[in-house]
């Protein structure tokens, strides 16, 4: 039971995160693609509780205006703009079902509520972070599910039947691990039509990566199957007249569950990260769609790295998510 509680420590934050990300439109103050050309790389807006005279006030912010140098920003202290809950904003469809225009947080005109600052187009970083998580987390899931699915099928086949099936599959796995897949990905992008949405393109590429990644899980699963197959209870069940599918389904595959869960918890972050590499090669999620990978990729720009600390936020989120996943992997 202590084990279960430890797993809860990982599951609850993950569930909360997924909830936030699924309902991104509601939690995000703005649309992820809305550009604010007067505010590129604006720092997070400070939230105030006391006005100029030192009187307590409900939380408010000031409008950001370019400062004298033209390179930074300062607060326009003349007009406090209150932060409000459940405000009207850009309309959207929640979960693709309900049309609404309510957002959790908003602020009076003309200020903008930029809790995590803006990127180079003046787009709200928080809104992008929430939306980006949707793609990144889903991509991680999708690719990990594909890798594990194929790995489970091939690995258990190889381990259970052995002989030439095993030899063929394992040689294939070695080959798969050595090949330069970037080429295939470059080629695959070239074959896709240009007019499909960036998200679709990306998901197709992610599925490809996931499909390619079966080799490692397959080897692990094969090992487990190999030892599970030798167990006496498998032999005993054979003695009771059980067929291969019964043995695989009831005794052998349940043995691999531990490895599968652990692998899933390790592969999901790995694939979320794979997107950063894809962005590096221009195969990541295309503008204006955000993802944690392409947001993190912004840090490769020297000026972003050195000047705008709030642009590290996707990195921080990734590290937290990874810690939670690794914790989960260890406790499973």
């Amino acid at each position: 039971m202590r084990r279960r509680r430890k797993i809860l420590w990982a599951v609850v934050p993950l569930a909360a995160l997924h909830g936030l990300v699924l309902l991104a439109e509601f939690f995000a103050p703005y649309h992820y693609a809305t550009q604010n050309r007067m505010l590129p790389y604006a720092p997070p807006t400070p939230v105030h509780f006391f006005d100029q005279e030192g009187r307590f006030h409900r939380p408010f912010v000031y409008e950001l205006v370019p400062d004298e140098t033209g390179m930074g920003y300062r607060e326009d202290l003349t007009r406090p703009c209150s932060i409000r809950f459940f405000v009207k904003g850009e309309p959207y469809r929640l979960l693709g079902l309900f049309s609404t225009d309510r957002h959790l947080l908003g602020v009076d005109e003309p200020a903008r509520l930029l809790l995590l600052g803006t990127d180079g187009f003046g787009r709200d970083q928080l809104s992008r972070l929430l939306h980006g998580g949707r793609i990144s987390l889903f991509a991680g899931f999708l690719a990990a599910a594909l890798s594990l699915g194929i790995g489970l099928a091939l690995g258990s086949l190889a381990g259970f039947y052995g002989r030439w099936i095993d030899a063929v599959i394992m040689r294939g796995a070695e080959l798969f691990m050595a090949l330069p897949w970037l080429y295939l990905l470059l080629g695959a992008r070239a074959f896709l039509p240009l007019s499909i949405s960036p998200v679709q393109t990306f998901l197709l590429l992610v599925s490809l990566i996931g499909t390619i990644g079966w080799a490692r899980p397959a080897r692990l699963i094969r090992g487990v199957v190999l030892s599970a197959r030798e167990r006496d209870y498998v032999l005993a069940a054979k003695g009771f007249g059980a067929g291969d599918s019964y043995l695989l389904g009831r005794h052998v595959l349940p043995q691999t569950l531990g490895v599968v869960y652990t692998q899933a918890a390790l592969l999901i972050p790995l694939y979320i990260l794979a997107e950063v590499t894809l962005s590096f090669l221009g195969l990541g999620v295309a503008e204006p769609e955000p993802s944690w990978g392409n947001m993190l990729g912004e840090l490769q720009k020297y000026h972003v790295l050195t000047s705008y600390w709030w642009m590290f936020s996707p990195g921080l989120v990734l590290v937290v998510v990874f810690i939670v996943y690794h914790h989960l992997a260890r406790k499973l």
Binding site: F121, L186, L194, S195, I196, G282, Y302, S307
Partner: protein, 598 residues
Amino acid sequence: MAVAVQVTHGTILRTLVALLFWAVFPLISTLAQSDGAAGEVTLEDPLITNHRVGRKGGRLVTALRAEPSTFNPVVALNIPSQTVIRRMTANLIRINRKTQETEAALAKTWDTSSDGRRFTIYLRRGVRFSDGHQFDADDVVFSFELYLNPEVASPIRDLLVIGDKPVRVKKIDRFTIEFELPEPLAAGERLFDGIAMLPKHILKDSYIRGEIGSAWSLDTAEKEIVGLGPFRMKEYLPGSRCVLERNPHYWKYDQEGNRLPYLDELVFVFVPDQSAHVIRFQAGDTDIIDRVSSENFLILKRQSRRSAYRLRDLGPGTIYSFLFFNLNVTSGKDRQSLRDKQSWFRDLSFRKAVSAAIDRQGVVKLAYRGLASPLASHVTPGVARWVNSELSVQPRSIAVARDLLRQAGFRWNRAQKLVDKNGAVVEFSIITSSSNSQRLQMATIIQADLKELGMTVHVVPIEHRALIERITREYDFEASIMAFGGGDTDPNAQQTMLLSSGYLHFWHLGQTQPSTVWEAEIDRLMKEQVRTIDPVRRKQLFDSVQELMAENLPLILLVSPHILVGARGEIDNFNPAVLEHPTLWNVEELFWSQQRSE
């Protein structure tokens, strides 16, 4: 211990070599004299430069974006290779990067025939290669033979083939050569700037063996790379740097009679990452920096008050970026949707509306942080001599754009999407090179701009080679953002893009006949200006070309980024220019005004 032994060995070896050298030296010198007895000439007419007289000594370090791929001028193409090679080689006539005019180099003077077809070039007498070997007309003839031989497949050959016929080269005497162009070519002498003179005595053998393409590669011994430039190769360390040293036989002197260059060494370190360039410059590891991105320029500027370097914004360079639509004629069933969309792209009102909707100031502010200029003509303000200053930048106006679309028969549906006459929703994709973040940013800005017109635009970053293949070979794209520029500023350099038959006529390639009236007119004007020697008349002709381009919008011009450079404060004679290479074009004149404070 092992190290110590090695050192001793090395010392012994060096002593031996030195002894041997001194024993054999008299012999060598007699041989050399007898060999060159026919015409060993001392440098009679060095080029005397006109700049502040400097002091000798010191080392200049600069970074290259990539490792040079070869040291061979015959095959070199990329900028890193050419940057290094150009410091080690010289040409007959060069284009002054600052004035953008031609000036004498290895040629002391030259005559041009009245029809502009024949050039007689008089070489400086007594010029020597960096290994001390005499340079004369034979080397010039040899060099041109190399470049022109179709088997060598040198990219330079294309410069020397005019109207399908190659330039003819004839040696008159030891220091005089005659060049004959197959057709008249205005400002033909500018051609010589791109052509490095090669040592016949070194490269003859590999040329005869048919291996000239792989001569002077990265594994060639440093001593074998010989040229006429201010520096010569001293050391090349794969993956990290190459070090050039002063060419002791250089043919330029300053006004006080000091032989140039001033610097002892010129070091190129290979730094593949843009940010690392800036970091190393900030850290003082490199002395000169060029091609600084606008963001990094601002970072450097913020710190320049504390640091010992100065930064220069040279204004717009020769690069012009543009959005263009696919106007190619395509066949095949799978291109049907493209052909449907091309009915919009071919509609001038549609292109004008797109142009009117683009927020060029926004592009300047967001993608270049203010360090770019919006464009009116495809000739940038950086090419002051040729730009048509009558043309003005189109101001942004969504209202104008909407009017244009409405008049052309487009409407807006209930969801505020733009639809054409046939009721098809206007939706297209813009492909850009995924490795160029500014172009990606421009595409993103344009995407948002055109959304205001009700157009749905997909921005598709594709990897560079795939992009080129789609545009130049498969014609499989709808719209793209690209940039052109660099190279010579003369209108002749733009023929390949402007002529309807040119292979850089991207919006519509492979035309045997001009497909539109205005393309035919541009063809006529361009062909006329090539034959026109009178510069004023040429300018008029080229102005008309620019007008036609601006009216018909095959290229929807965006902005021209500024050329941004920096150098350590103690470097004197620093005279950067917008043309390649912006900071090192006059490297022989650069000097350290005082010992570096280290």
